[in-house]
């Protein structure tokens, strides 16, 4: 075998003593093969890769294990010897490409640094070699881009630079650690296709570390599933997805949103999807909404003539990639920002008459509430869960805060004994529940959900999505669900709006848009999302 990892164990020294991060991990990789390592956060998938490269964070230690790479026993190599392997034999691509590049060094120079280090070029030939490496990852005008700093590049472009840097010295193994997390789906496709194309044409082997089963299914020859630092199952995508042997693999596949299933199928055991409430009269009407930023020649139109209705009891999905204006639209509806022109009506009465700066004191503030993307960051770190939920009750209603807080905790499935904990003492899923309870506290009629599950593991996402569906059925709340993920939106929404460059390009019934999109952009989006085959498990 080209790469063979056996009995790998890694531990981290913490204040509370040694903590095992990875135990008895074994996998192998043939020449030219692409191996996927799949798992949720804390599964040890990245740590395993760092252990192979010997770039573990501070306090991390390789406890035991054999790492055989093309006849070399890497686990016996010193750090000095590994430096010649890294970048030349084995390279790595990381998530969050902008942060992965030195912010104050020209990207061309960063590629040169690697080339020079591994003696692939002389000082005089460095520049042309770096430009060549950039051309290899299909960067337009590499001579010009050579002089760019990372902050001047888009996420996708930065990731290409990181890939160029990784592949500059023709390594034989590429490890990609969540290379597309945080990128838009269309960019994700471009980046993944690029990695696949380059590794194939150069005869390289690669390891793709991801939390996304769909991505692994599309790009990998074999998949290793990890959980809590251990390998639970290995197999080909077909075998693994159609007949998973392990209960965790089954649960993971079940929780992944995909075509042909209902929201109740995400959880184990599957359940009946809750009844969708009856659709009533228009609750919120958006009329010809526009928002521009800047002045003169620098004017940017973020939202351009957007009109739509949300009916009472309805769940409307707003889908688009970053920069399409969906967040600007939702913050205008939430009355956190004023539109440049246009109108928003609630129950036929204008909301935009009251400027955003004074809307906090408007009695209709209680009717509109929001659940934010990053549950942890959007909670006050010095408030306990109880304080976070009670705060809007005290400010916006005349209800008894104590009784109501516990009622809300019950509604969102947060155990009452967790109410006195602070955000950092709660898990991601629990914080998401606190965020939802806080938004429900003022008994809103419209809830704006801004990617509420984007930062969660799929198994937690499945539970939160079901919770949202239950709340809607029980309380009859109307949802505006903002997301980049069409599959997630389809599960929760009746109707979908697709936005691109500030405009709505497609609008329609959720099932119809997914199965029979009329706009080309919607089709591009749908094609870009790597999805699991339509499985019934």
């Amino acid at each position: 075998m080209f790469l063979e990892v056996d009995h790998l164990a890694v531990s981290f020294a913490t204040r509370r003593g040694k903590v095992a991060a990875v135990r008895d991990v074994r996998f192998s990789l043939a020449k030219g093969e692409t191996l996927g390592i799949v798992g949720e956060s804390g599964s040890g998938k990245s740590v395993s890769a760092y252990a192979i490269m010997q770039i573990l964070d501070r306090g991390g230690q390789l406890e035991s294990g054999r790492i055989q790479f093309d006849g070399m026993e890497l686990n016996r190599y010193t750090n000095r010897e590994m430096r010649d392997i890294r970048g030349r034999e084995i390279s790595m691509v990381f998530q969050n490409p902008r942060a992965a590049l030195n912010p104050i060094r020209k990207v061309g120079h960063q590629i040169e640094d690697v080339l020079r280090r591994h003696a692939r070029t002389s000082a005089s030939g460095a520049k042309s070699a770096a430009i060549e490496a950039m051309r290899a990852v299909h960067i337009n005008q590499p001579e010009k881009r050579y002089h760019s700093y990372p902050f001047e590049l888009s996420g996708g472009m930065s990731q290409r630079i990181v890939i160029a840097l990784a592949l500059a010295c023709d390594p034989r193994l590429l490890i990609a650690d969540e290379p597309t997390t945080g990128l838009d789906v269309t960019t994700q496709k471009v980046v993944m296709d690029l990695i696949a194309e380059l590794t194939r044409s150069r005869g390289m082997s690669s390891i793709l570390i991801t939390h996304d089963l769909g991505l692994a299914a599309r790009y990998c020859d074999r998949i290793v599933v990890m959980k809590s630092g251990e390998v639970v199952e290995t197999g080909t995508p077909d075998g693994l997805f159609h007949a998973p042997a392990n209960a965790y693999t089954k649960r993971l596949i079940r929780a992944t949103p995909r075509g042909g299933i209902g929201i109740g199928d995400l959880v184990d055991p599957p359940r009946q999807a809750p009844q969708r409430p009856a659709i009533g009269a228009p609750l919120l009407q958006v009329r010809d909404l526009r928002k521009t930023f800047g002045k003169g020649v620098n004017t940017v139109t973020a939202v351009d003539a957007v009109s739509f209705d949300i009916h009472a009891g309805e769940s409307l999905g707003l889908v688009g990639e970053s920069g399409c204006g969906k967040s600007t639209t939702s913050s205008m509806i939430m009355r956190l920002a004023d539109p440049t022109s246009g109108e928003i009506l609630l129950d036929g009465r204008s909301l935009t008459d009251t400027p955003a700066s004074r809307f906090a004191r408007d009695p209709r503030r209680t009717s509109l509430q929001m659940v934010f993307q990053d549950a942890l960051a959007s909670l006050n770190p010095r408030f306990t869960a109880r304080q976070s939920i009670a705060d809007p009750i005290r400010r916006l209603t005349r209800e008894n805060a104590d009784g109501r807080t516990e009622e809300l905790a019950g509604q969102v499935g947060l155990p009452v004994e967790l109410l006195d904990r602070f955000p950092h003492q709660l898990s991601g899923g629990q914080n998401a529940r606190v965020g939802i309870a806080r938004a429900l506290a003022s008994r809103p009629r419209l809830l704006i959900l801004d990617e509420p599950t984007a930062a969660l593991d799929v198994s937690i996402q499945a539970i939160v999505l079901n919770l949202l569906a239950d709340l809607r059925a029980d309380l009859g709340i109307t949802y505006l669900f903002v997301s980049h993920d069409l599959h997630v939106v389809r599960l929760l929404c009746d109707r979908i709006l697709v936005m691109k460059k500030g405009r709505i390009v497609e609008e329609g019934d959720a099932q119809r848009v997914m199965s029979n999109p009329t706009h080309e952009y919607t089709r591009t989006l749908l094609d870009a999302v790597p999805s699991l085959p339509n499985l019934k498990i």
């Binding site: 970048g87 390279s91 990381f94 030195n102 104050i104």
Partner: protein, 340 residues
């Protein structure tokens, strides 16, 4: 005009309102000083009449806005008024004393950077090692020992006990003649004149007060260097550099160090500002003829022209310094250059 030049120019323009503000505030502040300068100036044997005469002569009988206009007019002509206690023009005295303070402060800062930066960087690279602990001990000692104490302690050990240092009596021992005035920095001027003996003498006088100040300024610089370096070393781009097999030297001294320098530059600017104003005690202990001791003496006797001149000079220095820091920052960090 290049983008950088335009940016530097616009930063300089932005400094103008700050300067105008400083002129107004320095004027207002000195008028709030307790005591009547006319009474002081007239001396102990003054009569009501002579005091009133002096008041008119000094323009103190005018309304405040008129006084300000006079002040601003004089200022534009480079006239900061005469010191009440010495009778000398304030501008001249400041011009003589400022280089002394600057020479002391700059030497101290150079010394402190030469120790603090390597120390902070090494402490961060070898986090938790003995050098990290040594760094912490030195930093704690540096901030917790008041400068007048370290100053006196150094004099006691190196002058009184060991006799290595010269007497703490100003910038130059009386056996030397002060070098021709070019920059006002004795060491530099003496070297430029080719007078190595005087340069050595001036340097010997400098060592103790500069060390005292350096010990004090070491703490914030070393602490910032360590913290910034730790942050840089744990960042994603360092991981990328490691994964690409770059050498330890390249990673630590180029990738991490260059990024860590950004907050250190900011800290340096702050440290320089407060040292320049706060080295009064050191100047007193070492009889250093700087502007700090000048200001304190002026303040004690309500010598408002001198105080005003001092405040103004300091403020201009601060503004100029911030400007320099800003410009250095724009040159080092490409992200600050992209203003739309």
């Amino acid at each position: 005009m290049g983008q950088r030049t335009r940016l530097v120019l616009s930063r300089m323009l932005q400094a103008l309102p700050a300067l105008a503000g400083v002129v107004i505030v320095s004027f207002a502040l000195t008028r709030m000083l307790p005591g009547d300068p006319a009474v002081y100036f007239a001396g102990p044997a003054a009569t009501e009449q002579s005091i009133a005469q002096i008041r008119v002569a000094m323009g103190l009988d005018l309304s405040l806005p008129m006084q300000f206009l006079h002040y601003a007019r004089d200022l534009l002509m480079g006239d900061l008024g005469n010191s009440l206690s010495t009778g000398q023009p304030v501008l001249e005295e400041l011009a003589r004393r400022l280089p002394a303070s600057l020479e002391l402060t700059l030497t101290a800062l150079l010394l402190s950077c030469a120790i603090a930066l390597p120390l902070g960087v090494t402490a961060a690279v070898h986090q938790g090692s003995w050098i990290d602990h040594a760094c912490r001990a030195l930093v704690t000692a540096g901030v917790s020992l008041p400068t007048f104490f370290t100053g006196i302690a150094l004099i006691y050990v190196f002058y009184y006990l060991l006799g290595w240092a010269p007497a703490p009596l100003g910038r130059l021992d009386f056996v030397y003649l002060s070098p021709p005035d070019v920059t006002g920095f004795y060491v530099v001027d003496a070297l430029m004149a080719g007078d190595f003996e005087t340069a050595g003498g001036a340097m010997r006088q400098l060592i103790l007060p500069a060390s005292t100040l350096a010990l004090f300024t070491l703490a914030p610089i070393a602490r910032m260097a360590r913290a910034a370096m730790l942050e840089a070393l744990s960042s994603d781009y360092i991981r990328t550099a490691k994964a690409a097999g770059l050498s330890q030297r390249k990673i630590v001294y180029f990738y991490a160090f260059q990024n860590a320098m950004l907050p250190v530059i900011t800290t340096l600017g702050m440290v320089f500002s407060f040292t320049l104003g706060a080295n009064v005690l050191v100047e007193k202990v070492f009889s250093w003829p700087g502007i700090g001791s000048y200001a304190v003496e002026a303040l004690v006797v309500s010598d408002y022209a001198a105080v005003q001149g001092f405040v103004l000079a300091m403020a201009i220095l601060f503004v100029a310094l911030n400007l320099v820091i800003d410009i250095v920052y724009t040159l080092v960090d490409p992200r600050t250059r992209s203003t739309t």
